[in-house]
Amino acid sequence: MWTLFLTFFKIGLFTFGGGYAMIPLMQEEIIAHSWLTQAEFLNIVAIAEMTPGPISINAATFIGYQLNGVVGSALATFGVVAPSLIIMVIFSHLLAKLKASKYAIALKGVAITVTALIAAAVVRLIGPAITSYADIAIALAAFVLVAKTKISPILIILGSGLVGVVLYGYIL
């Protein structure tokens, strides 16, 4: 159980950039401990992709449960989150210091670059996520709704899921 916690602590500590950056290290650790086979691991990645939330939390919960039940899943999840807790509290102090210093102007540029990162993510996601005319229609409808109305993104996400169930299940 201690190994379970430590392994996920390591995964949480050494995976920068979130999400898919975590998969190779996670795969290495989990297969090295022979906690799962390659096929089982890929299955978990697929489940993690389909369900909400960070992929590392999803994997930790699933593998922890597999090995030690509910206690194991809580322990693995806490392990993967613990490095974030420590590091983000430190970063919060550093950010406050930077904001109070004469270099605070740097943050203006940084905000622009993060906007570019988000735009680049959209460019990258369009290919895999939008593969048919129906997908284009869903994407356009979602964009118009979020830009022109006050409807919450949550409702748009749920609505698009229901459209998917009806459209791909019964019509197409």
């Binding site: 949480g12 500590l13 995976t15 920068f16 950039g17 979130g18 999400g19 898919y20 975590m22 299955n43 489940i47 389909m50 369900t51 909400p52 939330g53 960070p54 992929i55 590392s56 939390i57 999803n58 919960t61 449960y65 899943s73 989150v81 974030s84 807790l85 590091i87 983000m88 509290v89 919060s92 950010l95 740097a106 203006k108 540029g109 905000a111 670059t113 993060v114 906007t115 570019a116 990162l117 735009a119 680049a120 993510a121 959209v122 990258r124 996601l125 369009i126 996520a129 939008i130 997908d135 869903i138 994407a139 979602a142 964009f143 979020v146 830009a147 996400i157 698009s160 899921g161 299940g169």
Partner: protein, 183 residues
């Protein structure tokens, strides 16, 4: 006490509707934290994402911890972290215990097939909103285009380096500009 509950419930919502990894949390987060609660403006929102993206760990969890800390200290950290983690934890636990076959259940597959294009559109809208607010002179436009080109065309380049580089260039640009303005 109210703010602790707001932190927890906001990040619970964000955690529950981050489908498709990392940036998928941005639309719900932007609407809740910037538009509804007014805890930060667009500039501070992007600064927060820059910091959480430059640290190890899941971006959604890092953001919950950072905003929780800024709004309410250590109790805020705990509330944000629990809120961001609990939805995935509960959903995966339920899948592990009850529905191992969810991957083969057509309505579930079709639901996510419908969600995916919508999430891309929602993220695009966040990018559009931020760009319109933050790009307000030729230097910021140039910085935006160069950052975008670097990330798209240089494979394997980690975002941290682009973020750091842009901070340094902005400082240099500002110190060059200062004497001009005074003169």
């Amino acid at each position: 006490m109210q703010v602790i509950w707001q932190i927890f419930s906001s990040f619970f919502k964000i955690g529950a509707f981050t489908i498709g990894g990392g940036y998928a949390m941005l639309p719900v987060m932007q609407r809740d934290i910037v538009d509804r609660l007014g805890w930060m403006d667009e500039q501070e929102f992007m600064e927060t994402i820059a910091v959480t993206q430059s640290a190890p760990g899941a971006i959604a969890v890092n953001t919950a911890i950072l905003i929780g800390k800024q709004m309410a200290g250590m109790p805020g950290v705990i509330a944000g972290c629990l809120g961001a983690v609990l939805p995935s934890f509960l959903i995966i636990l339920a899948i592990a215990i009850f529905f191992r076959n969810i991957l083969n259940w057509p309505p579930a597959i079709n639901f996510f097939a419908g969600v995916r294009p919508a999430v891309v559109a929602l993220i695009a809208h966040v990018a559009w909103k931020m760009a319109r607010k933050l790009i307000n002179h030729s230097f910021s436009l140039l910085l935006f285009l160069i950052s975008l080109a670097l990330i798209i065309f240089v494979p394997g380049l980690h975002p941290i380096w682009v973020i750091l580089g842009s901070g340094i260039i902005t400082i240099i640009w500002a110190t060059q500009k200062q004497p001009e303005r005074e003169a």
